[in-house]
Structures are given as structure tokens and as C-alpha cells.
Subunit: 382 residues, 2 copies
Amino acid sequence: MPDSIPVDSVGLVSPQFIHIDTPLSLESGRMLLQYDLVYETYGELNIQASNAVLICHALSGDHHAAGYHSLEDKRAGWWDNLIGPGKAIDTNLFFVVSLNNLGGCQGSTGPTSINPNTQKPYGPDFPIITVVDWVNSQAVLADKLGIRQWAAIVGGSLGGMQAIQWAISLPDRIRHALIIAAASKLSAQNIAFNEVARTAIKGDPDFHDGHYAEHNTAPRKGLGLARMIGHITYLSDEAMGKKFGRDLRHDSLNYDYDVEFQVESYLRYQSEIFAEHFDANTYLLMTKALDYFDPAKHFNDNLAETFAEIKAKCLVISFTTDWRFSPERSHDIVNALLSANKSVTYAEIEATQGHDAFLLPISRYHQIVGTYMKRIISEEES
Amino acid sequence: MPDSIPVDSVGLVSPQFIHIDTPLSLESGRMLLQYDLVYETYGELNIQASNAVLICHALSGDHHAAGYHSLEDKRAGWWDNLIGPGKAIDTNLFFVVSLNNLGGCQGSTGPTSINPNTQKPYGPDFPIITVVDWVNSQAVLADKLGIRQWAAIVGGSLGGMQAIQWAISLPDRIRHALIIAAASKLSAQNIAFNEVARTAIKGDPDFHDGHYAEHNTAPRKGLGLARMIGHITYLSDEAMGKKFGRDLRHDSLNYDYDVEFQVESYLRYQSEIFAEHFDANTYLLMTKALDYFDPAKHFNDNLAETFAEIKAKCLVISFTTDWRFSPERSHDIVNALLSANKSVTYAEIEATQGHDAFLLPISRYHQIVGTYMKRIISEEES
């Protein structure tokens, strides 16, 4: 429990649900006849409905981006340091919408949901969802909320890919894209790490080809292993070195196959917690969404051509020690936007924390986002 | 089968075995009462026994560094491009010794060997072996071969760590240390990747707490997964990108959880082959030997002090895109050697292939090793 709700917090928030019964055509060719989306909103939509901001989450994120669900809540939403009254994404100025993506496991329809055709959980039969599908489902939510055009769409990592896809797919519905610690597609190395994670999950004897729920179990070991690998790629070598170095778990070396170093113990603990709370089929789906994202594949791998119809102004941000999606990957996006004659602002933030930096309260980073967001309001007023 | 044995090959070679019944005191405090070592030699030991070169292998290497075991042999030894008549390590000039390290699974005593006390395979009861222990056992082999002092000890990666440890532990017995793509200790990130590999192996239901041989099985899935992770860290992002990019396995995307990209298929195949031929307990042991290597721990983490008693001249080589043991890690070694007023030559090789570069026939790299090795002979003669 927070001692008291901080004054710059959006305060107590409640998730909202919406049921959509308009079928959604998926990039895979399959169809989702109906689905639920869970979302939260912070701030007030103005009369012109011109101040809406969409937050897109990354691999393991959800709709709970800011505030607290109850006074007993130990932790605020995952992007609480960025979103709130007076914060970089100022809820005194903006109406912020944050949803759990389709295929997720925190309330929106996904592998853990009941398949209306079978009355059993979808499990592995839930269709593969891509970034394009997320954009289309988010557009349906925008319609329901009366938002014709987003003032801004903001996302880090896989969230940044959604901001890019919005700008490409629905250019009239987004005025600004904030693309943070993202890439225009995965590299072979990125895909390789995802494949290792999937192999770990699928190789767990409790996976049961994805039908683990029917067996009243879950592939926790495999999912934990997948998370450990992910975790390493989210942190920089430098950050891990600073945090753990070669510090020992016990006073001296034991020369056995148990944990010797703090970093091992930390990874084990974090991954066990994660595996208790996250769905393995959703994890698989999210890694696939990452792998498949490659908007330039429809434009002969020419990213500038891919961006030709974009109307949104873009803010691209990268972090110096991010080796998952390095600054060079942001340069690719920026250079293609420039080649396509688009409006783009770029900031490369000095940060030791690796990819995870996008979630952290780094002052120059938050200043840049805050200044950019304020400029959106001035544009609006001028 | 090679069409014919190439003229610059050491040709057909046979492994030799030696049984040691002098007990070996291990760094862990345990004792190995007796053990076998398997090794190969190439070239001739001169009368002064002054031209001997020791090759130290890395995580999954063995004694078969050069030549062929038979005319049916499809592949030469693992460092055949470096070792042979007229090659960088010229077997017309040097007597080259290459052994399988203690704890290995290719013939030297290790977890797959029969424990004389139980008449069953050691399995997980085989003691943890460290780099210090390898140096001590290699010194016993040197004694048996009549080699009081090595002209050079050469190793890449974990092999380079053995060359470093020789120079520190037995300064009178080594004239030159060739330390290639190595580090003076693992970083937290390196340890973290090893811990993921170990977790994968130990989590395989066929692991049986390491006693899988008694169950007539082996944790192939877990070992394969460990190897996949290792494999990614051996290659550079650039090398993987060049080799695979986002090339698809099939003509088009299938939008399912099976393999879509060539890089996934390659990793799966390579890891399956590896898991058929390598012992999981040995893999665990080798990752632990890496983790434990940290000679400066006995010298208040001061690497220059650690190197104070070294008499060997050192050649340190790193590769630009190696992110497992980056050039900065070699700089640490070089700077400490310089601080300790030792003779050191350093070369940083432009190479796209990442850590694996040390195994590849990169001409500038081989020229530097060859020139250095020839200088050893001139020194000897002058």
C-alpha cells in the first residue's frame, strides 16, 4: 500500500470493459467474431475530442499504466512515472487511454479466454495476433470512445511498433507518434532470442501443446526460462554489472551447481514471480507479434516508401545502452522518415539501463516527452 | 571424407591416453585420486624440449584440434585452419599438444566416466573443475611428456583463460601466452546467460538430477536449449543478419507457432546435433568453470597485482564484433599487463563474426599469430 496516494498520481482507477461483436479480420486470414477489451482512462476527454492519447504496451504490459486499483495496491501502474497530473504525459491536459492488447492475459480476449464455440479456453487455438491487428482493434475502441483522431499514440518497444503501424495504417487518425526504444522490424538475433524463449515454453512437459489449462497446470519452468532470457536482453551489460557485479549469494564460493552469484538468484526469483502471473500462450503470441512486425515487407523492404502516406509528426527516442533495439534501429526509422519528407524529432538518451530505460524515470527523457506533449497542446490552440 | 588429405594438414592422427594415479587437489577442496587424460600431438618435440605448444580448448572443444582420425573423417580438427605444416602454428617448427580437459566428455575423465568407488558413471557427483585445476592437470601431462617449459600456450575464449592462469600459476613453465577472445573474468551478463543455460538443462525432466545415464536417457531438450542460447552469444548481430536476415523458411508466412524464419530453423538444427553428441553434466561443469574464473579475486580485484609474477610474454587478440568477450575485456588484460610492466602485444581484429571469429580463418588474425609464433623460434635461436 502506498502510504498515501501521491498528489501527482492519477489516483484510484478502475479497469473498464467493452464487448465488441463486430468481427475482426486478422492479418493471418483468420477472423475473430467477437472479443472483449479491457482498458483504463486517465484525465478528461475535451469537447472537441482532440486531446486523446493512446498508450500501447510492450510484450508483458497491460492496461494498468498509471494510478492504483485500491488503497492496498503496493505498486502503481507500469508507466506511472510518465503519466499523471503535471507529469510528462499530463492528465490535466490529456485524456489518456491504455488497453490490454488482444491476445493478452489481463482481461482482453486472449488464449486464457473461453472460446464461445467450445466453452473451453482458447489456449493454443487462439489466433496469432499481429501489430496490424492490434491497430485495427484499437481503432474500434477509439470509435466506441468517440475518438476520431488521437492527439498522440505513445509506446515503447513493441508499443512503439504499434505507434508506427498506426501512423502507416490510419494516417488520418493520429497526429503524433511517440516511438520509444523501438525498431522497424526484428533482427535475426532478436528473432533467435524469441525462438529460444518459445522453445523453452513448448519444451516444458506441463505445456501439453498449449492445452495446459485443461490439465490444471501451466508451463511455469519454461515460461520462467523464457523470461530470464528476455530479462537479460532488457538490461545492459553495464547495468547488470553495476547492480550485481560478481557479488556472491553466500559469504564464500560453494563449488556446486547451486546459485553462487547474486545475479543468478535475482534472475531466478524474478522469473518465478513472472511465471506465476503471466500466461504462456500469451507470451508465445507476443513474441510472434514481434517477429512478424515488418511493415516494409509490403514495400520492397523500402522503409521510406512504407512511410510515404504518414501524416503524423513523430518523436523517436532511443537509449544509448539499449542493445535489444539499439539507437541504430531508431536511426533507421528517423532516416526513413526524413527520406519520406516527414516531420520527425529524434532524441538519443544517455542511459546505462539498456532497453529497460524506457520504463524508468530518466529526467532528460521525461523532459523531452513532456516538452513535446506540451507543444501538441500549443499547436492545438494556435 | 576429405577427397584427399590436404598437404598443409597434420594428416592422420590418433588420440593417446595417459592414466594418472597421483591424486589431484582441486580448487574446490575435493580430491581426484586418479584420472585419465586423452590428448593428441602434432609435430616433433625437439631434443631440448623447447618447442612445445599447448592448445587449450573452450567450452565444447576437445583434444582433436587438427588433422583427421581416418580417411573417412568428414571434418578436420576444430582448429585445423590454424595448426599444421606451414600454418600459423607451424607443426614443422612446433610440437603441439592438445588435450581434452578434465571434466570433459571426449575421453578424459569426467562426469560420463566410471567412478571407481561406485562402478557407476560419476554423473553429477563428478567434482567441479576450475581453470586452476585444468592448469594443474595439464602440468602433470607436461611432466609425463618431458616438457618442463612450454614455448607457448594458446587458447581462445575459455582456452585463453587457461593461458592466463598458466602464466600466473606456473610462471617458469610458460614462455608465451596467446590469449585470444578471452576475459579476465565473466561479467554479470555472462554469468546470467550461463545460469539460463544451466536452468534449461536442470529443468529437463530427463535430467534426473544429473543421473540421467542410469535412466538410459539424456536431457537433450535442455542441452539443446542451452546450446541455442550459447550459439546466439557466439555470433554477432551483424553476422546473424548477414547469414539469415529475415529470410523465411517457407515461401510465405504461415502465422502459426512453428518455424517461420531460417534463423530459427538453423538454431534448432544445430542445437539438436549438439545435444546428441555432448554430455549435459560436462556442459554444466564447463559453464561453472567459466563463472568461477577470476584470478584477481585473490589479489583484491587488482589485475595488475594478479599479473605481478608473470614471466611469459603475452599476445592478446580480440575481435571487433565479439560481444561475449568484447575488445574492452581484452583491453583490461592488456592494461593490467602494462601496469605490471610485462611484455604484451595486442591486436584487435576487424571481424564481423562475433566471438566465433577466433575459430575462423581470418587472414590478418592468422598472419599475426603466425608472425608471433615465428618470432618465438627466432628468440630461441638467438
